[in-house]
């Protein structure tokens, strides 16, 4: 099916189903129940899941396959965003030109950065990409203000030229759409106490994500992907065989830059605004966290990591001490306060602390990320089921960690 192996086709089908049914899956709790705050099925968050999924998939093509750790990937996301917003200002609020432009410009920029950075490897490569990203951030923030809007960033205005669209009525705000359908249009369906939102923007981004995921599977399984794995395993030996590995790594770099650009363009398509903070190095650090947490070098890992981090960022950060007291009201008074005081630093505004601890735990104990964790649990369950741990499954689960 679709020129995929049987296992990959199964995985792809699984992801397709999950993505399409996400409005149901992410809203498992009735609106009035105490757990409603764990519902993640609102459009804004669902869009972020898939968009950052694309970003992480792209990063994984570089880091997971070649082992080159880029600390400046947010720059490509930023360039894509700026390109998209200019298309919206100059041409049309239709998202198609915006997204095409974001991919092209991010690709060109990553070609330049990659050509220079890939002359070094290891930590020097990380520092070079970091330096380029910080330079882009600083320039977007200061010198390039006429193009980037500086600190305030850019939004489409009513009186922008927009040569393909007619003039907008005074007082309306331009909204991004696709041939008349607006990105923020949603269909709401309430069943009993449940409310499901089907947002057009989400499905648009989700289809992009599925396409991106499909391409990444094909890359992983192609001879090109094998070559990239060769770079990761032993670049020197690859060079000794007479191959020039640089074009391959550069191609991987540009592809992952284009993925980042696509994510940036989609972000603009959803919220029609952009600011330089999108290129700050912490944003680059975040995508590294996503890929590692989910499982670098695996197909589904980065998507899991992106979803996990965005879920934490939006849901865990909203829990405050009042809610905690509600949860633990059944405990004796003194104990209730003690438990709440113990949990409190890790939730709400402190969710970064939880993230940092989890990230460290993953790097130390589970170098293969959540995927490896899942495989280990599956292997353990299977071992229990058969009555004994099969030694091969344990080993197989260990290899993606490399």
């Amino acid at each position: 099916m679709l020129k995929l192996g049987k296992k990959d086709a199964g995985l792809f089908l699984f992801v397709v189903i999950i993505t399409l049914l996400a409005p149901f899956i992410l809203n498992p709790f009735p609106e009035s129940s105490a757990f409603a705050q764990f519902n993640a099925g609102y459009p804004d968050l669902m869009q972020r899941f898939v968009i950052f999924g694309i970003f992480a998939i792209g990063f994984n093509i570089l880091f997971g396959l070649t082992g080159y750790l880029s600390f400046g990937h947010a720059a490509f996301l930023g360039v894509g965003s700026y390109a998209a917003i200019w298309m919206m200002k100059l041409l049309t609020m239709n998202v198609i030109p915006a997204i095409i432009a974001s991919v092209i410009f991010a690709g060109l920029f990553s070609l330049v950065v990659g050509y220079i950075s890939l002359r070094r490897s290891g930590i020097y490569f990380s520092i070079l990409t970091l330096a380029f990203a910080q330079m882009s951030f600083a320039m977007a923030y200061s010198v390039l203000t006429p193009i980037t809007g500086g600190e305030t960033g850019l939004q489409p205005k009513v009186n922008d030229p927009r040569i393909f669209d007619g003039a907008l009525a005074e007082g309306t705000t331009p909204t991004a759409g696709l041939f008349g359908v607006k990105m923020r249009d949603s269909l709401e369906w309430s069943v009993g106490d449940w409310l499901f939102t089907f947002n057009f923007g989400y499905y648009f981004a989700a289809i992009m994500m599925l396409a991106a995921f499909y391409v990444s599977i094909r890359i992983f399984r192609s001879p090109f992907g094998m070559m990239l794995r060769g770079v990761k395993t032993n670049q020197q030996r690859l060079n000794y065989t007479g191959l020039n590995s640089k074009p391959y790594t550069l191609a991987a770099f540009v592809i992952s830059g284009m993925y980042a650009g696509l994510a940036g363009g989609l972000l603009v398509a959803m919220d029609t605004q952009v600011g330089p903070e999108r290129m700050f190095w912490t944003a680059s650090g975040e995508v590294v966290l996503m890929a590692i947490l989910g499982g670098a070098g695996t197909l589904i890992g980065p998507v899991l990591g992106a979803g996990f981090i965005k879920y934490m960022e939006n849901i865990v950060s909203k829990i405050n001490d009042t809610i905690l007291h509600q949860w633990f009201y059944w405990l004796p008074d003194g104990l209730e306060d003690a438990v709440v005081a113990m949990i409190y630093p890790f939730i709400g505004k402190g969710w970064h602390l939880t993230l940092g601890i989890m990230f460290m735990a993953v790097v130390i104990f589970l170098p293969g990320g959540l995927v490896e964790g899942g495989q280990r649990i599956a292997g353990w369950v299977r071992g229990r089921f058969r009555g004994k741990e099969s030694p091969t499954s344990g080993k197989a689960a260990g290899t993606p960690a490399e």
């Binding site: 750790l69 220079i116 070094r120 930590i123 590294v288 402190g350 940092g356 460290m360 130390i364 170098p367």
Partner: protein
């Protein structure tokens, strides 16, 4: 001439901070071979040692003074620090005012302890793992440390004043024969530079002229052989890690009056310090110090108004630009040793 001198002086204090952090980073890299992304967090912890000591010293009890009224007409509540009550307002007030220099004594044991725990508890397990893993785990540790500090001290910068004696500025112009007032330089920055120079000198002397330092240098050159000679090199490297943590912490303590400490100051400095280390050459202590001052001074020259007029925004990107050029033209950095991380 005055302008040039002023910019050099302006670059010195930031350059000293870069150089101190980069020195610690290089020390760790040279001895343990670990790329420590949590080093900026150690700098931040040092700064918060100064904040903490200031708070401890300022712990106060409240008395109600019936003779005075506040603006609502209620009896005025007077906060008296315990220290002033114990030693009298003169000495007590003096101790509080000198809290930042006193923090040096307070920070040394804390930073050494933090360094030891960090090395034995975490870094030790990462010697054999790839550099990417080391970067990632220390990056995670940096996030954890800065979030812990944020939890206890909040997200806002906390002003930590220098002793009032050093609050003023030094008229450098008059001292070297230019017009008075042409070069004004705050005393504390001058002290920071002197302090940094002393710390760096101490580290170099320690490595150069003590037996311990000699063993460590031998270990940096060939760890295995030193181990075969029956020397417990791991323990010495652990102590070097603690020393590097201590240097970063002291840099942070003294930096507190220059820039009010906040929880993300470490990350801000870390990125630049890494650039400094790489420009100086991985594993070269002298290179780290030289590159630190060089980049600090270059940055301050680049922010001159007429330079910015010619190349707008150069002050924001000069360090990264220099780093890119150096990395591409000199594979080993300015003073890197042959064979250390050349790929």
């Amino acid at each position: 001439m005055e302008v040039i001198l002023l910019q050099i002086l302006n670059g010195l204090d930031k350059g000293s901070a870069y150089a101190l952090i980069a020195l610690g980073l290089t020390l760790i890299f040279g001895t343990l071979g670990v790329v420590n992304f949590a080093h900026g967090a150690l700098f931040m912890l040092g700064a918060f040692c100064a904040v903490t000591l200031n708070r401890i010293l300022s712990l106060s009890f409240t008395t109600i003074d019936d003779t005075k009224k506040d603006f609502l007409g209620n009896p005025l509540k007077v906060e008296t620090p315990y220290i002033e009550a114990w030693f009298g307002p003169e000495i007590g007030g003096g101790i509080i005012a000198w809290s930042v220099p006193l923090s040096i004594l307070f920070a040394i044991p804390i930073m050494v302890l933090v360094g030891l725990v960090m090395e034995r508890g975490l870094i030790k397990h990462f010697y054999k793992r790839p550099h990417a893993d080391q970067i990632l785990v220390t990056f995670g540790l940096a996030i954890v440390l800065q979030e812990v500090v944020k939890y206890f001290y909040g997200a806002n910068p906390i002003p930590t004043p220098a002793p009032p004696v050093f609050a003023g500025s030094f008229d450098f112009g008059a001292a070297v024969g230019f017009d008075p007032g042409s070069i004004i330089y705050p005393y504390w920055r001058l002290i920071y530079f002197v302090f940094a120079a002393v710390v760096m000198g101490a580290v170099f002397i320690f490595l150069r002229y003590t037996t311990f330092g000699m063993v460590v240098r031998a270990g940096m050159a060939d760890r295995e052989t030193v181990g075969l000679l029956g020397i417990n090199i791991d323990r010495r490297f652990t102590i070097m890690f603690a020393l590097a943590a201590c240097v970063a912490g002291l840099a942070g303590v003294m930096y507190a009056p220059i820039n009010s400490p906040n929880y993300h100051m470490g990350m801000d400095f870390l990125v630049l310090s890494f650039v400094v280390v790489v420009v100086g050459g991985m594993g070269s202590l002298a290179g780290a110090v030289a590159a630190g001052f060089l980049l600090g001074i270059l940055e301050s020259f680049a922010s001159l108004p007429f330079v910015v007029e010619i190349i707008p925004g150069i002050n924001q990107i000069i360090i990264y630009l220099v780093a890119i050029v150096v990395l591409l033209t000199l594979p080993r950095g300015l003073m890197g040793r042959k064979g250390v991380m050349e790929d």
